[in-house]
Each structure stands twice: as structure tokens, then as C-alpha cells.
């Protein structure tokens, strides 16, 4: 038993001789929880997850004996937790609309029964290893929750409960550990959030994560198990893009971490997710989704923890063999929470007030993404997508620049595009993806062998048009040759007819890979036909005025992904449209 010596914002100095760094503490009469972050002789420094006002020097403080951990078991999906995994709905039932302090509610419901079906391979007196599947629980209609042996437990399985309904706390089985002790198994176990969950080995990421967003999938792909960042100034569309990914991506589990952002954005997710259907399974999206919310007005220390809580939950589903996507909005708020605590600890700031370890912490966090062979020999992945909120939209600031070094896919959002309401405002010149070669294999095998070449051609067009636009801005469009004007026009067609994609347009919000490629190749075909005519002497102006040019810009929002037949019929008519004009310029074909 110890006591409070000093209170300084979220930091308290405690007299607590026996503690270790990382230990959870309960402090003060109202029982605020926090963790030890420093020690000096008999005193310890702890950061608290809740507001410290009202605490007094001399009040009690106690070590809890474990580090910040999460509960892993059935009851996670469909839920919303705060930054230290308190279930917000249950907290609300207990303490009302406001976050009262010192409320303790278990993360997973204790009274709910789950139907457990033991794994047929498990029988008593056999050996179990950490990560082995003990059995399954159908947690939601679309997701089977695999009950795993805790990673560090292995030994002889003495017994295992038969099929039946159990609460998470009931003993499911017992394992005799190598040292002879008996470990009881439950439907859930705990894992410390700051320690990555173990796996057998890393696998290569091979399959693209399909998000249904054309500029992402077609131009700057991300793989399942990959790492991506979305930097952009305020209002550029980071949250919308992450919500779009959370809605439409072909992952099996989605973990949405609202880290220091707006309360209403989580409400938004909570309201639309149950209504939307997973395009891949047809089930309500909320069944595969889990939210971690530490909004900007909630205590800053729990904000720092929320990212680790999220990634640990992601790893847990990965260990069950799932492809998991975690979106974190925003990693900058996490870094700022780190900075705030470092400042109060008197640690030397290196850049913009951030401590020297910012880069290594960021790297260690993103390192927890990846596709792995799990302890039980299965395969699962965690894809990590972090929003970055650079002050003043300046990408050279520390969090953006460190992140850029770590990730493979960089979706840079542009203020100019957002101002003109060109969404997603992903800048096609600033963005990059290191996963193109792997993605190309998938597209070639599953969609079209011409994908990589088409993508490259479209990007070339966009780059060329950037140059041409500079000329136009100086001397006007009349200075361009017909070929140049047509190039500019075709780039415009790609921007408006392909890259721009409104999240709020019911038809266009999601674009299947087939539709993405159909549009891409159709627009390139228009470009090629036009270029042929221009070379034959047709003026670009005439081509630009073709009704086809306005029509093609609308295709994306006229044809659903499930119904591409009419789109394909329109595409098939492209050559004929140009033939009409060609008659005026082509040397007359010899009569047959």
C-alpha cells in the first residue's frame, strides 16, 4: 500500500516501493487507474488514464500487479471500447451520458452465455501449445470466434468442456504445465498491450486489400498485412477515406481506432455500420467491426494507450487466422500524447517538442502489422492504416516524415483537391506504393493481364498533363499543339471519370476491381482513339466536344459494380464513335 505525494496534471508521484515500470496502479479514494512510467528509489511516477482533479497528496495508491492488458475473447465484435478497453455502452449504463471517473466495468460481458463447440482435434491427455484452437464460438452471424490457448501456455490438456453454453469466466479446461502446475483455461485470456503477440514467422504479403476506392486499389495499392499512412491537412478527407476503407474493404475484421478525434465521427460509424451490408458476405458490417474510442476531449494518457489496445485486439484476431484491418485516426494525436507526457517528465525535446524516441516508437508500432504464420500454423494478417495530421499541412514535420520512412503505401491528401471538392483528395503525384509488383500479380491473375501497363499509362498521362498545365497557366491553352491538348483532356477525363469518387454517391461509393479496370481501360481507349485521329489531323477541339467525353465522366456513378453489362455495352461502342469522325480525316480506303 502506498500513497500520493504529488499531483501534476495527469502525472502523480507516488510512494510505492515495490512497483515496476509498466505496472497498473489504482490511485486515490475514487480509484483512478494508471500506469507506472518511472521509478526513483521508493517513489514512482504514474500517468493516470482519467482526470486527476480532486486527488489529494496523502491519499492511497496501490499497485495492481499487472501491466495494461486487454481481455481477449467473445464479446469483442460489435462493441465500442474506450482507450483502455472499457466497454462504453456498459459504462454508460452504469454512470450515465458522461464519463464518470473511477468506474470499473469488465471489458467483456460476464453474464452472457456463448455456445462453445470444442475442436474435434483436442482431447484430454493430448498436448496443447500456445495459440492452439480449443474450440469455436459463433460470435456474430458472419464471424466464428476461435478460442485460443493463451500464447505462453503449453502442456498436457487434462480436460476440455463439452459443447455447451458458457460464460467467459467459466473454466473450459485445464492444462498441466511442464513444471507440474495446473493452468485453468477460460474462453478469454489477457494480454499486455505493449508486447506484440507472438507468431511462428512472418509471411510475405501477397494479396491486395481491396477497398473499392479506385485511386487506392488501382493506383496506390495496399496489401493485406501491409502498412499505409494517410497524411493530410484538416478537412482533406482522412477520416472519410478511413471510414470508406472500414466499410468496403475485403478484410474479415475491421478495428477502427478513434484516437484523439471527434466524438461525432464515432457516432457516425456506430450509426451507419449496422445499416450497411458487407459487399463480400452480405451481413451487416457492424458484425465484423470493433471500435476503440478515445475522443479529443477524453484524457490524454488513455489516448496514448488506445493505439496499443487496438493493435493488440487486431493481433488477437490475426492469431485466429483472420485478415484484420486496423485504421487509426489519428496517429498524430497519439504522438502528441507521447509528447505531452515526455514534456511533463522533463525529457529533452528534440524536434517540435517531441522526444527523441518518437521515430522508434512509431516504427515499433507499425512493425506490428504484417502477414504471419500463426502459432497454430494458420495464416492471418494485420493491415495497418494510420492517418497523420500534420500541423499546418506541412509534411516535413516530425510525425509525417518519420511515418513516411516506415510505411510502404503513402496516400498523400492534397488541400487543393479537397478545396475543389475532388474526393478522395489523394494526390496522384505525391502518393506512392511499394506494393505494385505484388498487386500486379493478383490483378493479372484475377482481373486482367493488362492491369500494370494500363496503370502505368494512366500515371504517365497524369504526369504529362501536370507539365502541360504549367504551360497553359503561363500562356493559355492556345499555345498547345492538338496532341498536347488531347493529352490534357484525357488526363482530365481520368481525373473526373476515374480518380474522383464520392463516398456519398450510392453507386460510386464502392467500385469492384472489375469495374475499376473496366473504367480505366475504357478511358485509356478513348485517349488512344482520339490520339490516332489527332495524328491524322483532327483538331483536339472537335474531339473534346464529343458527347462521349461528358458521358464517360458519368459512367462511374451510373453503373453499379454488380451490374457491369450495360457499362461494357457502352464501352464497346467507343470505337464506333470515333469512326464517325475518322471518316473525315482518314485517307479514303481503296474500294473493295
Amino acid at each position: 500500500m502506498g500513497k500520493i505525494l504529488e499531483i501534476n496534471g495527469p502525472l502523480v508521484k507516488l510512494q510505492l516501493p515495490e512497483t515496476v515500470i509498466g505496472e497498473q496502479v489504482r490511485v486515490g479514494r475514487i480509484g483512478l487507474v494508471g500506469e507506472v512510467i518511472g521509478r526513483d528509489g521508493d517513489t514512482a511516477l504514474a500517468q493516470l488514464y482519467e482526470d486527476t482533479s480532486g486527488l489529494k497528496p496523502g491519499e492511497v495508491a496501490d499497485g495492481l500487479g499487472w501491466p495494461l492488458s486487454v481481455e481477449l475473447g467473445p464479446g469483442l465484435l460489435n462493441a465500442i471500447f474506450d482507450g483502455v478497453q472499457r466497454p462504453l455502452n456498459a459504462v454508460r449504463e452504469k454512470s450515465g451520458d458522461r464519463m464518470a471517473r473511477g468506474v470499473s466495468v469488465p471489458s467483456l460481458p460476464r453474464d452472457r452465455l456463448w455456445h462453445f463447440i470444442p475442436d474435434p482435434q483436442r482431447h484430454s491427455a493430448s498436448h496443447v501449445d500456445g495459440g492452439d484452437t480449443l474450440g469455436t464460438v459463433q460470435e456474430t452471424e458472419s464471424i466464428v470466434h476461435r478460442i485460443l490457448t493463451p500464447p505462453l501456455v503449453h502442456g498436457e490438456l487434462l480436460d476440455l468442456a463439452p459443447e455447451g453454453d458458457y460464460t467467459v469466466e467459466e473454466v473450459l479446461g485445464r492444462v498441466k504445465l511442464p513444471d507440474g502446475r495446473i493452468e485453468k483455461l477460460h474462453m478469454f485470456h489477457r494480454w499486455p498491450v505493449r508486447i506484440p503477440r507472438p507468431f511462428r514467422k512472418r509471411d510475405h504479403a501477397v494479396k491486395p486489400l481491396i477497398t473499392g476506392q479506385r485511386i487506392l486499389d488501382t493506383f496506390y495499392p495496399l496489401l493485406k498485412g501491409g502498412k499505409a499512412a494517410i497524411p493530410g491537412p484538416f478537412g482533406a478527407g482522412k477520416t472519410m477515406l478511413q471510414q470508406q476503407i472500414a466499410r468496403w474493404c475485403n478484410a474479415e475484421i475491421v478495428i477502427y481506432v478513434g484516437c484523439g478525434e471527434r466524438g461525432n465521427e464515432l457516432t457516425d460509424v456506430l450509426e451507419f455500420m449496422p445499416e450497411l451490408k458487407d459487399p463480400h458476405t452480405g451481413r451487416p458490417l457492424m458484425e465484423r467491426t470493433l471500435l476503440v474510442a478515445n475522443t479529443s476531449n477524453m484524457p490524454v494518457v488513455a489516448r496514448e494507450a488506445s493505439i496499443y489496445v487496438g493493435i493488440t485486439l487486431a493481433e488477437y484476431f490475426r492469431d485466429q487466422g483472420y485478415d484484420v484491418v486496423m485504421v487509426a485516426d489519428s496517429t498524430s494525436r497519439w504522438a502528441e500524447a507521447l509528447r505531452e507526457v515526455a514534456g511533463r517528465l522533463g525529457q529533452m525535446p528534440v524536434e517540435e517538442g517531441y522526444p527523441a524516441y518518437l521515430g522508434s516508437r512509431l516504427a515499433a508500432f507499425y512493425e506490428r502489422a504484417g502477414r504471419v504464420e500463426t502459432l497454430n500454423g494458420g495464416h492471418g494478417s494485420v493491415t495497418l492504416i494510420g492517418a497523420v495530421s500534420p500541423p499546418g499541412g506541412d509534411f516535413s514535420e516530425p510525425v509525417t516524415s518519420h511515418t513516411k520512412e516506415i510505411i510502404q503505401t503513402f496516400w498523400a491528401l492534397s488541400k487543393e483537391l479537397a478545396d475543389a471538392r475532388h474526393y478522395p483528395s489523394v494526390d496522384w503525384l505525391e502518393s506512392f506504393s511499394g506494393y505494385v509488383p505484388s498487386a500486379a500479380k493478383w490483378w493479372a491473375e484475377n482481373i486482367d493481364p493488362g492491369w500494370e501497363a494500363a496503370r502505368a499509362q494512366a500515371l504517365d498521362l497524369l504526369a504529362a498533363s501536370e507539365e502541360l498545365q504549367r504551360i497553359v497557366n503561363l500562356v493559355g491553352v492556345e499555345a498547345l499543339s492538338s496532341e498536347q491538348r488531347w493529352t490534357l483532356e484525357a488526363a482530365g477525363l481520368i481525373k473526373e471519370g476515374l480518380l474522383q469518387q464520392s463516398a456519398t454517391d450510392e453507386v460510386d461509393s464502392f467500385s469492384s476491381p472489375e469495374k475499376q479496370f473496366a473504367l480505366l481501360s475504357a478511358l485509356l481507349e478513348i485517349f488512344r482513339h482520339g490520339m490516332r485521329l489527332v495524328k491524322l489531323g483532327a483538331p483536339a477541339r472537335r474531339l473534346i466536344q464529343m458527347p462521349l467525353m461528358a458521358q464517360a465522366r458519368r459512367w462511374k456513378s451510373q453503373h453499379k459494380s454488380e451490374d457491369l453489362a450495360t457499362l461494357k455495352a457502352k464501352i464497346a461502342r467507343i470505337p464506333a464513335e470515333f469512326e464517325q469522325i475518322a471518316l473525315d480525316y482518314e485517307p479514303a480506303a481503296p474500294a473493295a
Binding site: E6, I7, P57, G58, R333, D419, A420, G476
Partner: protein
Amino acid sequence: MKNIEFRTAVSAQGGLLVMGGVAGVSAGSRVSLKDHVGNLRNGLVIRSSDDAVLVEVFEGTDDFDLERTWVRFLDEPFKLPVSRDILGRVFNGAGLPRDGRPPIISGDRRDVNGEPLNPAARAYPREFIQTGISAIDGMNSLTRGQKLPIFSGGGLPHNRVAAQIVRQAKLLGDASSEFVVVFAAFGTSHADARFFQESFEESGVINKVVMFLNLADEPVIERLLTPRAALTAAEYLAYDLDYHVLVVMTDMTAYAEALREVAVLRGDVPARKGYPGYLYSDLAEIYERAGRIKNRSGSITLIPVLSMPSDDITHPIPDLTGYITEGQIVLGRELFNQGVYPPVTVLPSLSRLMKDGVGKNFTREDHPHVASQLFASYAKALEVRGLAAIIGAEELSDSDRRYLEFAQGFERRFIGQDEDEDRSVYETLNLAWDLLSMLPAESLIRVSEEELAKYHKGSA
């Protein structure tokens, strides 16, 4: 402890007082001080140990005589007494009357810091508020429960715009949808405060207004309390009395500067431009108090006004604000200099909640597309204008010249309107189509073909 007076001040500098030898003082507790002439001052405990207690003194400590300073620790946070009687009253930044009338007597006293709302308790705001201002309603609409700041600059008419919003704001088709107003001014001039007061009086709403004033020549540290006191009053009106509350606060820049001043004294590590790293969280504690709560009928709509230092939107104060609020209405000097009122620069302006509060079932089915089209066409028109400045308007193509005319008409007729002109959203949308009809229908890709057929004057 509440009744014991301590005279153990060790040092004082720029508003921070260190007290020695007081054990068991609670963090965040309110402090009452009697200075050497017997005047009472207010303070707040910001750090506490048995050896030393650090107190932030709202009225400053410059003239302190440490030997003759008496300090009482009240063992509770700053609280605001609330009752129905606050309507029509004027308070100072700490919630004491400044209208010469008696203080509010109420057993209901609320911690001005509030407690963060459980994110699971929020209801998503969806009800369109018609402000009667086209640049807002048409392109950056306001929603009941939204936090939408006005970014402005010295000399720009942000006060007039804010006052016009307060006068005209109503729900569509609901005449009884009146707002009560909480108005907080900190660091602003007496003239500005008077302007609002007169505007409320003229429009006859003054009895539905609660004012909290901490003016430019009044204690700086009290500014840290003013928005919190105002929002505490707003929460009471919204969630206890079921009012829809419109909160106008000005000027957030003065608030942030006060915060910086205190942070420097405390020795906090600065992040950008000397502002402390926690400016974001601190502003969020204020802004996030706007919103709606499930199963409650009231709401808090928040319109903070801030002046951008040197008109720079990347300055930490507008920047961090933009990262927290649900959009921003940006006023621009260029339009202002051309005599356009309200000088709303639409491209950097944004309303994030617009997508869920306009269109079919809310305003009119074409609204979201028209807004998007106006943005796209105006962005293009500005490019053309830039080009015209270089090569001359005569050299422009026909189609480009139409864009030039569109820009002109858009700025004069759509953005520009009178200070007492209250346009319905339908007038706004029809006006938008008048302007879009100056452009060829084929170039309007963001509106649907059906909408073009129905509304574009050049079609059919």
C-alpha cells in the same frame, strides 16, 4: 480546510503563486485569496504536494505582498450556479454578475470543466439550420449540434456575420424552432461586446441570451474560465431545460494567447510558435462540448469566432481548431476589399456535417450535387481568372470567358447579399442554378442529367 486561511506564500510571479507547508490540498481545487489591501482574488490549484502547492491566480500576482496574502483552499473545482434565471443576464468570465443585478442563487452548482461525454451517448446531428446566408446554406451548411467556427482576420466583419446568423437561424419548416443564445466574449473590445448586445436587443432576443464577458482590459487568466463557464450554462439550458442553444464565442485567438501566457510561466515545453503541446486537447475540451445526446431533446450548436494572426490559416490556432471542429467558415480580405458582404471565401470553407443534413428528405434533392458543382466550377473559374491576369481576358477561349463571368456573378450575387437579407434555402438553390446556367451543361458533371434537365436554363 475550507475555512483555514494560510499565509505561507513562498513566491509569486506573473499569476503563479507558490504556497509552502499546506498538506492535503486537492488538485484542481478553487482558491480564494485576500491580498494586502483586502481585495478578494480567485485561483486554481494546478500542482499539489505536501511541500508546495502551485496556484494560478486569475487576477494576477504582480502587486502581491507575500507576507500579507491570505489563502483559502475551497476543496472544490470552479462551479457555476445555474437556474432558469440566467437567461437575460450578463456575467463576467468567472460567472459573477456584471449587470448590477444580484447573483444567481441556486443549489445547483456545476463544475465548469464538465465531464467528457461518453462517445456512445452522442446522437449524430442531422437537422439543417437555415441561416439565410447563401454561402453557408448552399455550400457549407450548418447543422443543429454542430461546431462550426468562423475564421476571420482583423477588420473583417465576423461580428456582423455572427450576429446575422444568430438573428436568422431557424430549422426548415419549423417556426417554433427558436434558439436561446449563450454569448461569450473574451479579450474583445468593449465596442465589440456592445455591438452584440445591441444586436440582440434590436432583434428582441435579449431575454433569451446569457452573456459572459471578459473584455480586453480584464484579467487574462480569467479568459481560461470564460468559455467553460459559458458552455456550462449552455449544457444546463440544453440538457436540463431542453432548449436548442446557439453558443457564439469570440475571440478564440485571445483565449489561446492567454493559455500560452500561462504555459510559459509554468515552464511547459512549447510545441509550435510557443503554444503548448496540449493546446489541441485544451481546445477540444471546449469545442467537443457542442453536440446532441441520445434521448435528450436539447442541443448545443457552437459558433466560435477566431481571428487568424496575419490572415494565416496554418497558424496553430486556426489549424488546431480546424482539426477539431466540424468545418470552418473562412472570411477573406480579397472579397471584403471588393465590397462583398459576407466575404465568405468558399473554397477553404467546409461543413463536414453538410453531407448528412442536406438533399432529399432534408432540403432539396439536388442540393448536395449543386454544392459540389459550385465548388468545382468556381475552382475552375478562379484558375481561368488567374490565366486572364497573365494573358489578358481577350485571349481567353469562349468557354473560358463564360467561366470568368460566372466567377463574377457568383461572387456578387450568390456570396454577396445584404446584412438583413434572409434567403430561404430554395432561393439559394435557385440562384445557384441561375449562375450554373451561365456554363455549358456538358461541363456540369457533378449534377445528374435529370437535375440538368430540370433546372439548367440552357437545357431542354
